[in-house]
Amino acid sequence: MANTHTISGDVSIATIQEVYDTLQKQVAEHGHIDIVVENITGFSISFIQLLLAIEKSDKIQLVKCDIDQELLQTIGIQNLANI
């Protein structure tokens, strides 16, 4: 059973490197992880890019993505990971 990592709190450009590094560490540790995104603040384009990159990865599975759809649509993203 894969490890589940939850991303919550600040995901703005200021903290995105930290979020990325944590994920990389988790992947290195477990080989494969599931991601849950919820209760995030500081919505940023860099965070969306991170999620898009995750979508391309076969080591990380986005199992829940609770993001304001209106914000996503503002930047032209209609759906993310079909969630």
Binding site: S46, K56, I75, G76, N79
Partner: protein, 675 residues
């Protein structure tokens, strides 16, 4: 200025009538764009001219409602019952405001506030359902929309400068309608990602009134961090042409190919629209003759003068005949021709289509339908049939009364229909058609019909007839024309005040018309009104019995014959054999009690007809064609049912005008009943 105001009021009345007509049509087909455009056009005209002439209260209302119809035009809202009701209420209020410019009367003030509140509520409802922006509520004619394509490609290190492309996109969205296309192809895999770099880039399609410079201002602080290109791709709203789904576009190549298709479609639609506009312009140029507004009093004066001219001209013709002066006779013949043409043109000016009043009844039936809780389909046909405006004016009240009765007593409530097992929708058909020189107006319904025995009972109860009177079913139904007759259990404000049908009949008779009722219990009722086309001048055939002149309306004349008088005098079955057909006849000499002292050897026979029915009228002599200026008969002739009026001949003597409709109705139907 007062004169201009007067003209405005007249024109506003026309516009209000047009508005009401369009609203009622719209009620039956709420998506009819033509009617929506018409409503908008009328509102706009009313708004403009009312403001100009100081009718600011009308201007205020039209401005607010125009906003709603503009949203409907732009498919941002739909025609709902609420929109229809508030518009129709406003139509009534407009008429009041034309009299009370500053809305000072208490009732008008209250109505005005109520309508404004209703409009506000409607706007809130529309706003809630469509999330409209202030931008979208501006009237379209104020917009000069342009579709832009904005390419936004931030440099990779854009985030280091503190710039956020998301805010740029939000700023663009505030400028107008838009679609945002994001390209994700440069986003690397998770392992190769540098989270602080920007990989996304965008295309935004923006429909806005603003210019290129205003769009470029959005990027003023990020010019060095982004590649930006603003292109004007279409003069107009390209996004309205077809829905573009951003999720289906994943690359700039795909967007470009999609835009090419969209632009082609837009060009095609524009071409079609231009062709339609050209066609409308061409049609209106070819079919609409210029017209001017003339006071109806002036038309009445003109008609009276023409009548006098026709009478004077008849006298002149008589003198010319007596003078044996060929030159004078030719001159008089020309004057006769000219006066006839003048009469026809003047007469045609006084004709109005019945639609002018028929559409008013559509509103009446609609309102009564809601008031009484009776669903009914109201069908109008033959509204283009024209009648003398005097007749139309006098016909309004009787028709209104008949329709009120029809809604109140004829059409069933849903419960009554259920009880009677009637599944067909209730229907009232108001129709009109020409029949010779008459116009026939029918009001037909499929309601509960009239029970002749109930009518009889009521008539006995009200002591209008005695119990031992023996009546046919039709005679029982006709009792409703007796003064004071009403079968309504309760007096309502719709009908049933105990007066009505007798007044209706009297009004119709005053117009030289006839009213008949055919009804079958449980099936429905048809009320037929037969009216003369005009009340003024008719073409007739002047005939003589002894020294008495009579006029037979020419429209009813089919053929003339000559038969020995004896075959008329000694006829036991009142039938003449004309062209191998047995035709009933009326000997005018006997009918009007002219002495039989000097009967002619040969009798002139005039065959007259009404639809399928024929009758022959026997006279001594046919004098010739004659233009008869109709004058009403005095009260001494009120019981003479075969006469419709009188006319003055050239020598000043009087000729009585025969009512061919009544002659056929009484004599032929009587004969048919005997057979």
């Amino acid at each position: 200025m007062e004169n201009f105001k007067k003209i405005f009021v007249e024109e506003a009345r026309d516009l209000i009538a047009n508005l009401e007509e369009a609203m009622l049509t719209l009620e039956n087909s709420p998506e009819d764009m033509e009617q929506i455009e018409e409503v908008f056009r009328v509102m706009h005209s009313l708004k403009g001219s009312s403001g100009m002439f100081g009718f600011h209260k009308i201007e205020e209302l039209t401005h607010d409602l125009e906003t709603i119809y503009d949203l409907i035009r732009d498919h941002k809202a739909v025609v709902t019952k609420g929109v229809l009701n508030v518009t129709l209420t406003m139509v009534d209020h407009f008429s009041a405001l034309l009299q009370d410019i500053n809305c000072e009367e208490e009732i008008n003030k209250a109505n005005h506030e109520a309508i404004l509140d209703q409009i506000k509520t409607l706007l809130k409802e529309i706003d809630a359902s469509s999330h409209i922006t202030d931008e979208a509520t501006k009237p379209t004619e104020e917009k000069n929309l342009i579709t832009y394509r904005i390419k936004l490609e931030p440099k990779e290190d854009v985030f280091h400068t503190g710039a956020n492309p998301m805010y740029l996109i939000e700023d663009l969205m505030a400028l107008g309608k838009n679609k945002t296309f994001v390209y994700v192809d440069k986003v690397p895999s998770f392992e190769d990602l540098s989270p602080q770099k920007c990989y996304l880039y965008w295309d935004v399609l923006l429909v806005s009134e603003v210019g290129v410079d205003e769009i470029k201002d959005v990027f003023i602080f990020v010019e060095d961090e982004c590649d930006i290109d603003v292109q004007t791709i279409y003069k107009g709203d390209l996004l309205q042409v077809e829905e573009v789904d951003p999720s289906a576009i994943t690359s700039r190549e795909e967007l470009e190919s999609s835009l090419t298709c969209l632009l082609k479609k837009a060009a095609k639609l524009e071409k079609q629209k231009n062709e339609e506009i050209n066609n409308v312009v061409k049609t209106s140029k070819t079919t609409t003759a210029p017209s001017i507004r003339v006071a109806s009093e002036k038309l009445n004066d003109l008609m009276n003068l023409v009548s006098e001219l026709v009478t004077t001209q008849a006298g002149l013709s008589l003198l010319a005949n007596k003078s044996q002066n060929p030159a004078l006779e030719v001159m008089v013949e020309n004057i006769e021709k000219l006066s006839r043409q003048l009469r026809d043109i003047t007469f045609s000016m006084t004709l109005m289509p019945l639609n002018n009043i028929f559409f008013r009844f559509q509103r009446l039936v609609r309102d009564l339908s809601e008031q009484l809780g009776k669903e009914v389909e109201f069908v109008i046909s033959g509204g283009e049939t024209e009648l003398d405006k005097t007749i139309i004016e006098a016909l309004t009240d009787p028709l209104m009364h008949l329709l009120r009765n029809c809604m109140d007593h004829g059409i069933e409530t849903p419960a009554e229909k259920k009880q009677a097992n009637k599944i067909k929708p209730s229907k009232i058909i108001l129709s009109a058609h020409y029949s010779g020189a008459n116009v026939v107006v029918n009001i037909q319904d499929n309601g509960k019909g009239i029970d002749p025995y109930v009518i009889r009972e009521k008539a006995i109860e009200k002591e209008l007839i005695t119990e031992d009177e023996s009546l046919t079913k039709q005679e029982m139904i006709n009792l409703i024309f007796l003064p004071g007759f009403s079968t309504a259990e309760t007096v309502t404000d719709v009908s049933g005040r105990g007066v009505g049908m007798d007044v209706v009949q009297r009004n119709i008779k005053n117009l030289r018309g006839e009213i008949e009722i055919q009804s079958e219990k449980g099936v429905g009722t048809t009320i037929q009104i037969i009216l003369p086309l005009t009340l003024s001048i008719i073409d007739g055939l002047l005939v003589k019995i002894e020294e008495e002149h009579f006029v037979v309306p020419l429209f009813a004349v089919n053929k003339c014959y000559e038969v020995p008088y004896k075959s008329v005098e000694n006829n036991f079955n009142n039938l003449l054999n004309l062209d191998d057909e047995a035709i009933p006849f009326l000997n005018l000499r006997e009918e009007f009690g002219v002495s039989n002292q000097s009967t002619p050897e040969m009798s002139e026979v005039i065959l007259i007809y009404q639809e399928e029915l024929k009758i022959a009228i026997c006279v001594d002599q046919i004098v010739g064609q004659y233009q008869a200026v109709l004058k009403p008969l005095s009260k001494y002739y009120k019981d003479q049912e075969f006469l419709s009026g009188a006319t003055i001949l050239g020598d000043g003597s009087v000729a009585l005008v025969l009512d061919t409709y009544k002659i056929i109705d009484k004599k032929v139907k009587q004969k048919l009943q005997m057979i």
